[in-house]
């Protein structure tokens, strides 16, 4: 492909994709040039596929044929729109109507009424896009999207990730063309340094600096790697980018290859992400076919190709030296640094390793300039951050916010608040390496430094919202269980330290804790932090330390009062039947797996605490709310 051919494809496909980015009226005008009356975009990402989007797509195609309009309506299977809890989601352009929780039956109605007759099916729209007076607002005006700024996710839910031409129409490969045509490797590095882009994988190291180190090394063979081993449980940012916009990663890796002088790239991706792997594979093949990967890209003397390597389920492989060992086909154990990978990395050669989201930002920075990017965000954290919002929050999904957005804006506005009228207790960021931000710090602007000061960290972007029903000791134990499982065993402080920490927590949760355990936990945590080989071990105590910092009273309740205030820790919970509310319906008695409940019909029942195994079945099944944790 030549520079001219790239521009030509963009010109041909531009209006087709642009219809999806414009407001209704302009979109309608443009739609006339595309050959399609309307376009239906359906999310084919993991979230919506799990909610049954395949059946919806089949039904849509069948209905379109039945009405004979399959040639007038373009169906596009996209990546994630962000609102995973409303899946399967679909959006109709040029109107921009957002249908949520689509079903095959609903689709039949949408095709007949909306696509054939032109009447929007209001009762199937996402309710937040329909005002009380019946007027419809676009998705970008809803609380969920209003405060978001999509840079890394700019194409997710907009383009067909399996069609390179749609990516090209969205300025795709224009940054690579610009770099090859008019920028030296030093120009690229300076642009990244000036932009202030920091690594989105967690550490926040300046990306330009990393590339500079690797470029400086004299070596015939260098490598560019992409870390897509998103192991933080509850995080799915990188997967969504790969599913929704895989070419942005390919393009950015090629730019990295040109900058540091590498010809080969590797993407290390979790095998648990089949859709992402499939779409990335298709994207790489298409890029090769169009001459955007391979020998002499755009007719220059720059050659670059990418290979995919699948992970096999080891959290530690998110650590750079461990990931490199895994690509080399070895046990994924970390190595001491220095030497840093930029000097001696994959197969002993200078290597750069960046995270998916970091790469996704780079083409836009090259095209729009460092000043544009650095104008977004806070003093030391530029640009945006993608978070996978999950847990006890109404709008579970993927959000991208400018750095400096407050936690309150994320939880209350974008996230739509806590369901069931419960109270916000804390947000957990940084996964097993991070910590909790309690309600008293809800107004803190989110950026790298603020989160570190609060005892948490940015992490890769998992953000789990916890409500009053969550026990903070239990959640700390949850993360410790994880790190115990995932500790690779190479260094002693991590292998034994995580286990010992976990034992302390177990003791507390079972009601055998002593106050001096808390001091021992702190001391052990300090040693682990100072002496572990890699970040996994160094940061493993963080979930315990941060919950201990902000929720010490809960630990004390467990230890001295032998009570779990949230009613989660089984050994410290007992169930009681309120005789005033109990109707004696016998349901609980019949269902109790250990026959711990007794009583006569129509008379209040009682629970034998010695027999009760605290399974909670009675509480869940009681129709009169007569059973509670005492």
């Amino acid at each position: 492909m030549t520079f001219e051919e790239l521009a030509k494809i963009k010109e041909q496909k531009y209006s087709l994709v642009q219809v999806r980015r414009l407001v209704k009226e302009q979109g309608e005008e443009l739609a006339k040039q595309t050959g399609y009356r309307k376009q239906v975009l359906i999310c084919g990402g993991t979230g919506c596929t799990s909610s049954g989007s395949k059946k919806v797509i089949d039904a849509l195609e069948r209905e379109l044929k039945r009405h004979g309009i399959e040639k007038e309506i373009l169906v596009v299977k996209t990546g994630c729109f962000g609102l995973c809890s409303l899946g399967p989601v679909m959006i109709v352009y040029p109107e921009g109507c957002f249908y949520a929780q689509a079903t095959p039956e609903g689709v039949a109605e949408i095709v007949e009424e909306h696509l054939v007759k032109g009447n929007i099916v209001k009762h199937l729209l996402y309710d937040k896009t329909v005002h009380e007076d019946g007027s419809i607002i676009s998705l970008s005006e809803t609380d969920f999207y209003k405060k978001q700024l999509r840079i890394a996710l700019r194409n997710c839910g907009v383009i067909d990730p399996e069609n390179v031409e749609e990516y090209i129409a969205s300025d795709g490969y224009a940054a690579l063309a610009k770099v090859l045509k008019e920028m030296t490797p030093d120009d690229v590095i300076n642009c990244l340094l000036e932009s202030g882009l920091r690594g989105r994988g967690g550490g926040g190291f300046p990306t330009g600096r990393k590339w500079e180190f690797a470029k400086r090394e004299e070596n015939d063979v260098k490598y560019v790697c992409c870390n897509a081993d998103e192991g933080d449980p509850g995080a799915f940012m990188d997967r969504s980018v790969l599913e929704g916009d895989p070419h942005s990663i390919i393009e950015a890796m090629a730019i990295a290859g040109y900058t540091i002088g590498a010809k080969q790239g590797y993407v290390y991706i979790r095998a648990e992400y089949p859709i992402a792997v499939q779409r990335l594979t298709i994207a790489i093949n298409q890029a090769r076919e169009y001459g955007l990967l391979g020998e002499n890209i755009f007719g220059t003397d720059f050659s670059f190709d990418i290979e995919i390597r699948l992970g096999a389920g080891a959290f530690v492989c998110g650590e750079e030296t461990a990931l490199i060992a895994s690509i080399e086909g070895k046990r994924g154990e970390p190595k001491p640094r220095p030497p840093f990978p930029a000097v001696q990395g994959l197969f002993g050669k200078p290597t750069i390793l960046n995270n998916v989201e970091t790469y996704a930002n780079i083409p836009q920075i090259i095209l729009k300039g460092a000043d544009w990017f650095s104008s977004i965000g806070t003093e030391k954290s530029k640009g945006t951050k993608v978070f996978a919002l999950g847990g006890k929050i109404t709008n579970v999904g993927l959000v991208e916010i400018p750095m400096g957005t407050t936690l309150r804006e994320i939880v209350e506005e974008i996230g739509g608040g806590i369901p069931n009228g419960k109270k916000f207790k804390a947000a957990q960021t940084g996964g097993p390496s991070g910590g909790c931000i309690p309600a008293c710090h809800i107004d803190v602007p989110i950026d790298y430094d603020n989160l570190i000061n609060l005892g948490s960290m940015m992490g890769s972007g998992g953000m789990i919202i916890l409500d009053e029903d969550t026990c903070m000791v239990d959640i700390a134990k949850f993360y410790l269980d994880f790190t115990v499982d995932e500790s690779c065993g190479k260094c002693t402080p991590c292998r034994i330290g995580t286990r010992r920490l976990n034992q302390f927590l177990e003791k507390i949760i079972e009601g055998n804790g002593e106050l001096e355990d808390l001091d021992k936990i702190k001391e052990l945590a300090l040693h682990m932090n100072k002496t572990s080989l890699c970040a996994l071990g160094q940061s493993a105590p963080n979930p315990v330390l941060s919950t201990l910092k902000y929720f010490k009273d809960e630990y004390i309740s467990h230890i001295t009062d032998k009570k779990c205030p949230a009613g989660v820790c089984k050994k410290l919970v007992s169930y009681v039947i309120n005789p005033k509310l109990c109707k004696g319906c016998t349901l609980c008695m019949r269902n109790c797996p250990v026959n711990a409940i007794s009583g006569s019909p129509k008379k209040p029942h009682v629970i034998d605490r010695n027999k009760c195994i605290k399974c909670g079945l009675c509480e869940r099944n009681c129709k009169f709310n007569a059973i509670s944790k005492g």
């Binding site: 799990s50 799915f236 997967r239 999950g390 996964g431 949850f478 909670g616």
Partner: protein
């Protein structure tokens, strides 16, 4: 080490494995892809298969074994016909995934990491399958079941029993 007495590889499987080994033989770091494809062929990685890989790639069995036991996706024991995985990622955990796992363990009579005697079900707890919008979730082979409650588990598993 894994139980070696029950290995029943077919010549067809062996032929496939040999061609996989041939394909990755000269590739740097080819052991991981070979193990992954071998597990696809056999369903697990018995010691006999690891030996064939070691011989084929001209590396020691201990190296193959070291890698095969390091990563949680490699299994040295056979899996069930229906592989049940209950997600214990954070988003699912705070929504009660531990109770889902308990319900499945009770129904199948096995613990996480085990396989039923008839070879029908194996059970694992996994880390985040990425369907956090549907938390808590479990997967049975490639089918995802979301927004689960413990009392839904019985019906779902019965559906698979009735397939037999």
């Amino acid at each position: 080490m894994a139980d070696t007495t029950t290995f029943k590889g077919t010549p067809e499987q062996e032929r496939k494995l040999r061609s996989v080994i041939e394909k990755h033989k000269t590739q740097p770091g080819g052991l991981m892809p070979v193990l992954q494809e071998a597990q696809d062929i056999y369903g697990y990685l018995p010691i006999e298969v690891q030996q064939m890989i070691a011989d084929g790639l001209n590396i020691s069995l201990s190296e193959v074994y070291g890698v095969a036991t390091f990563y949680s996706q490699f299994s040295l024991t056979p899996k069930g016909e229906y592989r049940v995985s209950v997600c214990l990622g954070t988003a699912c955990y705070v929504k009660g995934a531990d109770k889902i796992l308990e319900a499945v363990e009770k129904k199948l009579g096995i613990k996480s990491g085990e396989c039923t005697k008839d070879g029908l079900f194996s059970l694992d707890s996994t880390r985040c399958v990425g369907a956090c919008g549907l938390a808590p979730v479990m997967m049975i082979n490639d089918e995802v079941y979301g927004k689960l409650k413990p009392d839904m588990v019985n019906d779902i598993l019965d559906h698979y029993y009735s397939k037999k």
